[in-house]
């Protein structure tokens, strides 16, 4: 059990102008699940890229199963038995499970593909892992969790003894996570060593044996999971204690005016949703993956068509058919997937921030750039976007700062109702609390916020009320003083 699989010592890595890894160490035992944690940019992925041959190390040694190795390419890593499961799955959706597993090393009969052998080999592999998946199913017909397991099976088919998993649960539902964990335990029993990278600290306690923390490209320490608590892990990650306390009492007065009300909201995924959002309030929306939370937000924002429903803003009925209408009624939507739905990555901070309010800066068609620059600068300063200048391209900013650019866009447009969809997803712990502070500042200024979140601590810390959804329906709204994790979970699983 205690056989050393991988030992990395004194690893150095330089990028132009950055000392990305400074004297980093990491070890992995046979049959161990070893977590690698740290804020974004701490160097976790860089270290793993060195291990898988994607980056060349500038110093230090890698020992694999007792012998010193130099790994120059992912192919070499694969041959050694080191496999990696990326956060984004690399599967070809139109091909079958078996075809995906053996892509690049197809079984052939003469000049032709031997699909019988391919399928047989695949089912033998899947059976050996106790996976009940038909090798002839197309990848697109599987759930994300199943796809992930196929990807793991594929990695293992290279006789991998080391498996690196980068945020494996990011796209999974609770029950899917359970089955993934079961699977991981089984791999562990077979002697596979697993490097587990995740931001979800609660998971680490459940599944890992040891935790190695990194900070700013440096190794911090390695501890036994059984010996630490979440606040302690966070403290190791950020070098300071910032664990969140839940909000006890809402400060929003009972009789605060209602700024947004939706009635009878319906679409394919949303069923009869109705709620009120008060001025100065943060309304959390909780629910499991697929509960229809994002879909509800997109309906209110006009991004998807609704089959029926009424929306009232400040008591007046409004007709929202497109995002253009929503924006003009003062609704701003911050998507969970900023890069796809929130930002023009190739444009500057200024062009992104002024995009929605552009008509305000323009006479006839001519844009008054002076005015746009002035306002962008003002908001960049106000919400503390860290960028060398407002002409910096957004793709060069960190996740937290990108999120702030999207926020600046809505503030410049003067939106009074902001919908934050997973506002801190992919944002590191330090920037998280800054986003929280911003949201609190905004409601204090009289804006109203809907916050969709999958993180319980976030919901309990930020919300004045928590609305819970399940399978497209609103199953309950809890005041913060009565809301607990247990009550939220009960409502979130209240299926009909």
């Amino acid at each position: 059990m205690d056989e050393l699989l991988v030992c990395m010592e004194g690893i150095q890595k330089y990028f132009p102008g950055v000392h990305a890894l400074n004297n980093c160490s990491f070890e992995l035992l046979k049959g161990e699940v070893h977590a690698l944690v740290g804020e974004n940019g701490a160097g976790k992925s860089t270290l793993m890229k060195v291990l898988t041959g994607l980056y060349k190390k500038d110093g230090g040694t890698i020992t694999y199963k007792g012998s010193n190795v130099e790994i120059h390419s992912p192919k070499e890593a694969q041959n050694l038995g080191i496999g990696i499961i990326h956060q984004e799955l690399n599967m070809l959706p139109h091909l079958t499970v078996a075809e995906n597993i053996f892509i690049g090393r197809e079984h052939k009969a003469g000049p032709f593909l031997d699909s019988k052998k391919t399928n047989n080999e695949a089912s033998r592999l899947l059976e050996s892992l106790n996976l009940n998946i038909d090798p002839e199913t197309k990848i697109q017909d599987l759930t994300v969790a199943k796809q992930q397991m196929v990807e793991i099976a594929k990695a293992l088919s290279f006789k991998s003894e080391v498996l690196i998993m980068d945020e494996p649960t990011a796209a999974l539902t609770e029950s899917e996570i359970e089955s993934l964990f079961k699977f991981i335990k089984q791999l562990k029993a077979q002697g596979v060593g697993i490097v587990y990278i995740s931001h979800r600290l609660e998971e680490l306690l459940k599944i890992t044996d040891r935790i190695t923390t990194m900070r700013d490209g440096q190794y911090v320490n390695t501890v036994k999971t059984a010996d630490v608590t979440i606040p302690e892990i966070i403290q190791m990650m950020v070098g300071r204690a910032i664990y969140e306390e839940p909000k006890v009492q809402s400060m929003v007065p009972e009789d605060a005016p209602v700024s947004l009300e939706v009635k009878n909201l319906n679409s394919k995924q949303v069923k009869n949703v109705a709620f009120q959002l008060k001025k100065g309030e943060i309304l959390g929306i909780a629910g499991l993956m697929g509960a229809g939370r994002t879909e509800t937000a997109r309906l209110i924002f006009g991004a998807d068509p609704m089959t029926s429903g009424e929306i009232y803003i400040d008591g007046k009925k409004v007709n929202i058919k497109t995002p253009y209408d929503a924006v003009n009624h003062g609704i701003g939507y911050l998507s969970e997937d900023r890069k796809r739905f929130g930002l023009a990555l190739g444009l500057s901070v200024k062009d992104n921030s002024s995009l929605s309010g552009l008509e305000r800066f323009s006479k006839i068609f001519i844009v008054n750039d002076k005015k746009a620059e002035k306002e962008t600068n003002a908001y960049v300063k106000k919400i503390n976007v860290k960028t060398p200048s407002i002409y910096q391209l957004v793709k060069n900013l960190s996740g937290g700062n990108q999120q702030k650019v999207v926020l600046a866009k809505w503030l410049i447009k003067n939106c009074g109702i902001l919908i934050f969809d997973e506002p801190t997803r992919g944002i590191d712990v330090g920037a998280k609390s800054e986003i929280y502070k911003l949201m609190n500042d905004l409601v204090r200024e009289g804006k109203s916020i809907i916050m969709i979140s999958s993180e319980m601590p976030e919901l309990l810390r930020m919300s004045d009320r928590v609305a819970v959804m399940c399978e497209g329906r609103l199953t309950g709204i809890l005041n913060i003083n009565e809301a607990t994790q247990e009550k939220i979970m009960t409502l979130a699983t209240q299926r009909n």
Partner: protein, 332 residues
């Protein structure tokens, strides 16, 4: 002024760099042919270079907008020819005054631009397919209405000869077409960089869905861009008619490829979101210098076609290489 340039170089990104490279290429080619070509270094050649740039220049200016949105217009050349033919039919057969015939040219080209826009923005056809259809339609329509007869525009000796003086060369031989091109370069520059249309053009090309979710009426602005492209096609048609006088039916396809080449050589990204109009014009001039220069070395048009291919591939390779490098540095 200096300060502003500084900003542009930051937000212009790779287009800015590639534009400088294209400009140096233009000068190097010019110097090369001046040394090795027969009688290349002369005012006459310079005028020839300008002459052969007009119509492709206008098509390429319109195409720049389309490509920055992430689209393409394969019908660009045939829209030009179709509108020139229809204007010719009005002038030759229906005996419309020349002014009205020119107005018809704009009407036809802008109409087909709008049609492209509706198909792409409202009916959600991929630009490649929609404009491929328009290419066939316009090429066919021109031939149908002209009954496959060549249409003629006034020559300098005709009473309407002012048309040629106004859009091609003055009686003194001054290339007035270059003035038009310069004027519309400035107009195109202003539209692309100083107006809402331009800002939305970049936003749509950079991330169409994010633009929509920012409250930009993407459909409407895409239609505006394709309509504008059609309008530039009308300008190109007039320049073509003024320069070449005869319009032959069932021609025009293939010209769009030169327009696209000019845009790409000038540093506009085929995947959208990045581009400049001045770069486009430099790209068009590179092709013209190649053409005139190779002629001065006794190599005919086919050699221009041959070498243009290398320039296009080189320009795109450079773009890809630079993007890759930029992405590598910021990773992790």
């Amino acid at each position: 002024m200096f300060k502003r340039n500084n900003k542009l170089s930051i937000s212009g990104g790779s287009a800015g760099f590639q534009k400088i490279l294209a400009l140096s290429t233009l000068f190097i080619l010019y110097i090369f042919f001046s040394i090795f070509g027969n009688n290349f270094f002369s005012v006459a050649t310079l005028v020839n270079i300008l002459d052969s740039s007009y119509y492709i220049g206008f098509l390429a200016l319109g195409m720049t907008f389309v490509i920055i949105t992430g689209g393409i217009n394969l019908a660009s050349g045939t829209i030009m020819m179709c509108s020139a033919l229809l204007g010719g039919v009005a002038y030759n057969i229906w005996h419309w005054p020349i002014g009205m015939s020119l107005a018809l040219i704009f009407f036809v080209s802008t109409f087909f631009g709008l049609m492209n826009g509706i198909m792409i923005a409202k009916l959600k056809l991929p630009p490649f397919i929609a404009t491929l259809g328009t290419m066939s339609i316009t090429m066919g329509l021109g031939a149908i209405i002209s009954k496959v007869m060549t249409m003629r525009y006034p020559t300098v000796t005709d009473p309407d000869g002012w048309f040629k003086f106004l859009f091609y060369k003055t009686s003194g031989g001054f290339p007035v077409g270059a003035v038009w091109l310069a004027l519309f370069l400035i107009i195109a520059y202003i539209i692309l960089n100083k107006t809402i249309i331009g800002r939305y053009t970049f936003a749509i090309g950079s991330n169409e869905e994010a633009a929509r979710l920012s409250g930009v009426k993407v459909d409407r602005w895409k239609m505006v861009v394709y309509t504008l492209d059609g309008f530039f096609g009308g300008l190109a048609a007039i320049m073509y008619a003024a320069a070449y006088t005869s319009i032959i039916p069932s021609t025009g396809n293939g010209i769009e490829l030169y327009a696209i080449s000019g845009v790409v050589i000038g540093g506009t990204s085929m995947s959208g979101g990045i581009g400049t109009v001045s770069g486009t014009l430099i790209g068009v001039f590179i092709m013209s210098v190649l053409k005139q220069g190779l002629m001065a070395m006794n190599l005919q048009g086919q050699w221009q076609t041959f070498f243009t291919g290398f320039v296009v591939i080189g320009a795109v390779l450079l773009d890809i290489y630079r993007n890759k490098k930029a992405n590598q540095v910021k990773k992790d």
